[in-house]
C-alpha cells in the first residue's frame, strides 16, 4: 500500500502535485487476472466515524432493551447507523424492530452477505426502512466460517425469501426455517461452491474444459423438478430422456 493510499480521506489541497510521487503498490495492476488475495485484518474504525447511539432512537432502544445481544454500533458514510447483533437472536430482535410501534421497520429493503476473506467471519446484512417513521437502519450479524447458519426471517418479511436464497447460493449461509432454500442464480446442481466467497476464484474452480464437458453431459430432465410442485393429484411429467449418446458428442473432439 502506498503512503497515499493509507491517507484515506485526508487529501492534499487542490492543485498540488498529488500523484506525482510514490511507487505503484504491489497488486496495483491486477485488475482482472490475479486471483483473490486474502486481505489483512481490518484496522479499528476511524474515530471520526464513530457515532453516538443516542443519535438514532432505534439504536438507543436496542442497546437499552437487548443489552449484550447488541455487540457493536457505528456510523458509516456520515449518517448511516449500523448495528451488529448476536446472530442467535436475530429473529427476536428483528421481529421486535418490525412490530414495536416506536420503530415499525416494516420494509426489509435488502438481505445480503459480506465476506471479508482471510478467514474472517461472513456477515449477513439487513437493510431496513420504516415507512411509518421514515428511518433507515442497517443490522449486521457476524457468522464464523465454522457455523454459517442463521435463522430465516421469511416468517417476518416474505420478501426475504428470494434474498436469503441468493445469500445461500452465493455465500453458503444456511437459513434455518427457510421454506424453500435452493440455489437461485446458479444452477440447482452447481458443484463448484459459493461464488461470492473470497476463496472462490474469479473464473471458477473447474477448468474451462471441465466446465464444457459437464455442460455437454447434462441431462435435460434435471431442470424439471416436479417434486417442487408436490400437490396431490398431480402426476410428475416425465420428459423424454435424451440419451447420453446424443449429448456427449463434444467429448470426441468435434467442438
Amino acid at each position: 500500500m502506498t503512503e497515499r493510499a493509507q491517507g484515506g480521506l485526508e487529501r492534499p489541497p487542490a492543485g498540488g502535485q498529488a500523484g506525482a510521487a510514490g511507487v505503484p503498490a504491489a497488486g496495483a495492476f491486477d485488475a482482472v487476472d490475479y486471483g483473490p488475495v486474502p486481505s489483512e485484518p481490518a484496522p479499528p474504525p476511524r474515530g471520526a466515524f464513530l457515532g453516538q447511539p443516542s443519535d438514532h432512537p432505534s439504536v438507543q432502544a436496542l442497546v437499552a432493551g437487548f443489552g449484550d445481544a447488541v455487540v457493536g454500533h457505528r456510523v458509516s458514510a456520515g449518517d448511516q447507523h449500523v448495528v451488529w447483533i448476536d446472530p442467535a437472536k436475530n429473529l427476536e430482535i428483528l421481529g421486535w424492530l418490525r412490530d414495536d410501534p416506536e420503530h415499525r421497520y416494516d420494509m426489509m429493503s435488502d438481505v445480503t452477505g459480506v465476506d471479508y476473506g482471510g478467514g474472517r467471519p461472513v456477515e449477513v446484512v439487513y437493510q431496513m426502512f420504516s415507512t411509518v417513521h421514515k428511518r433507515a437502519l442497517r443490522v449486521r450479524c457476524r457468522l464464523s466460517l465454522e457455523a454459517l447458519e442463521i435463522a430465516s426471517v421469511v416468517s417476518l418479511w416474505q420478501c426475504a425469501n428470494w434474498l436469503e436464497r441468493e445469500v445461500y447460493d452465493l455465500f453458503g449461509v444456511t437459513f434455518t426455517g427457510h421454506p424453500d432454500l435452493r440455489r437461485i442464480l446458479m444452477p440447482y446442481d452447481y458443484e463448484e461452491g459459493h461464488p461470492l466467497r473470497k476463496d472462490f476464484p474469479l473464473r471458477g474452480r473447474f477448468s474451462r474444459a471441465e466446465q464444457t464437458r459437464r455442460a455437454l453431459n447434462q441431462r435435460v430432465e434435471r431442470f424439471y423438478r416436479p417434486q417442487d410442485l408436490a400437490h396431490e393429484g398431480m402426476l410428475p411429467q416425465e420428459v423424454a430422456a435424451v440419451g447420453p449418446g446424443t449429448r456427449g458428442k463434444g467429448q470426441g473432439g468435434e467442438r
Binding site: A5, P12, W162, L202, H231, M234
Partner: protein, 426 residues
Amino acid sequence: MSRTTLEFAVGRNPEMGPDGLPARSPLAPFDLPEPDFGTEHMLINIGPQHPATHGVLRLVCELDGETVKSVMPDIGYLHSSFEKLGEYRTWNQIVTLTDRMDYLAPLIYNCAYVMSVEKLMGIEVTERCTVVRVILMELDRIFSHLLWLGTTAIDVGAFTPFLYAFQERERIYRLHESLTGARITTSATRIGGMMADLPEGWIEGLEDFLDTFPNTLAEIDSLLTTNQIHIGRTQGVGAISAADAINYGFTGANLRAAGVDYDVRKDRPYYDYETYEFAVPVGEHGDCYDRYLCRMEEMRQTVSILRQAIARLPDGPINVEDPNISLPSKTDCMSDMESMIHHFKLIMEGIPAPEGDCYMAVEGSKGELGMYVVAEEGGTKPVRWRIRPPSFVNLSVIPKLAEGHLVSDLIMINASLDIVLGEIDR
C-alpha cells in the same frame, strides 16, 4: 409533499373486490365452481425463450385446466456475476458494469452507483453535476417506462402504442448517443463527476423532446386508458393489498399502485429532490390497471421535473476540483509531464476509500434501487459491491399474484411488474 391519488373516469369492473383483494378474473365467465372431473394438473413451461417473459425468464406453471395453481419462476440464465467482477475492479472501472444490468435505464444505474461510492468517500459533487445527474436519471425513467408501456401493450394485443413508444425512445437513444457516444452502454458517470459535460446543444435537444413527448403520451393514453379490451385484461388482475405489498418487498410504481405512499425521492431525498415540485401518483387497488396508471402519471411528472431541472441548471465545473479524484484535462496530459503521471496513477491505482459501508437508495425506474458498497481502509476496490435489484424482489411476488388467475393473466401480470432480467440475474 404533494401526493395525488389517481382517479380516472373509468368504471371499475364489478367483479373487482372493493379493497383491492384478488377477484376472479374478468375473463372467467362463470361464477359456478367448475365440476371436478378428477383430472390431473398439468405442468407447463413458459420460457426461457419466449417473447412474453420479457427476457430470459422461465416460468414453470402448474395448471388446472387454464387456471394457474402455482408458478415457479426460474432465473439465473443471464447471470454474469457482476458483483464478483466488481471486487476485481477499481471504483471507476465498475461504472461500466452498472449499465449492463438494467440496459433499459442505464443512466440511473450509473448515477446510483457513483452516488453510493461518493457518499462512502465523503465527496460532495458540484452543483452542476447534481442537476445534470437529476436530468439524466429522470430522462431514463421515461426511457424505461416507455419500453414497459410498449411491450405491455403488445401483451394485451395493442400494437400501435409499441410503435409510438419506440419512436420516442429512439429520440432518447439519440440524446444518449450525443452525450456518451453509446446508445445503451452509456457509462456516463465517474466518481466525483461525469465522464464529460453536456455537449453543446444537448439541452436544446432535450427541450425539443419535452415539447412533443407529452403529445405522444396523450395519444397512447387515449388508446389504452379507456380501452375496453385493455381494461378487461388489467382491472382486477394481479391485485395485492397495501400491507402485503410492503411485506412482499414491492417498491416503485408496483408498491404505489397498491396504495402505499412510498417514493425514495420524497421519503429519503437525495440531490435536492425535496426542492422539486412534483406529485407522487398513488393507486388504490394494486392491480395491473393501477400499475399502468401510476407509470403513465409518473412520466408526466417526470417531464415536469425535467423542465424544472433545466431551468435551474447552473454553470460551473462538472467535476470536483480534487486531483485525487478527478482526472486532469486531456490537453494538460498531452502537454504537461506531471499531469500525465497524475493521470496514469489515478487510472492504475484508483481512488482510496475509507473503511466502512454505505447503502444508497435511489428511486429507479423499477423501484428502490439500492447500491451497497463495503470498503476497507484505503481500498481502491470494493470488498463487496451489492446491488439491491428492484425487479428481483418484484418478480419474487409473482407466485402470489398469479395464483388463481388464467394463463393469459399471468402474462399480463408478468408484464405489469416491469422486470428486466439483466438486473434480476446480474
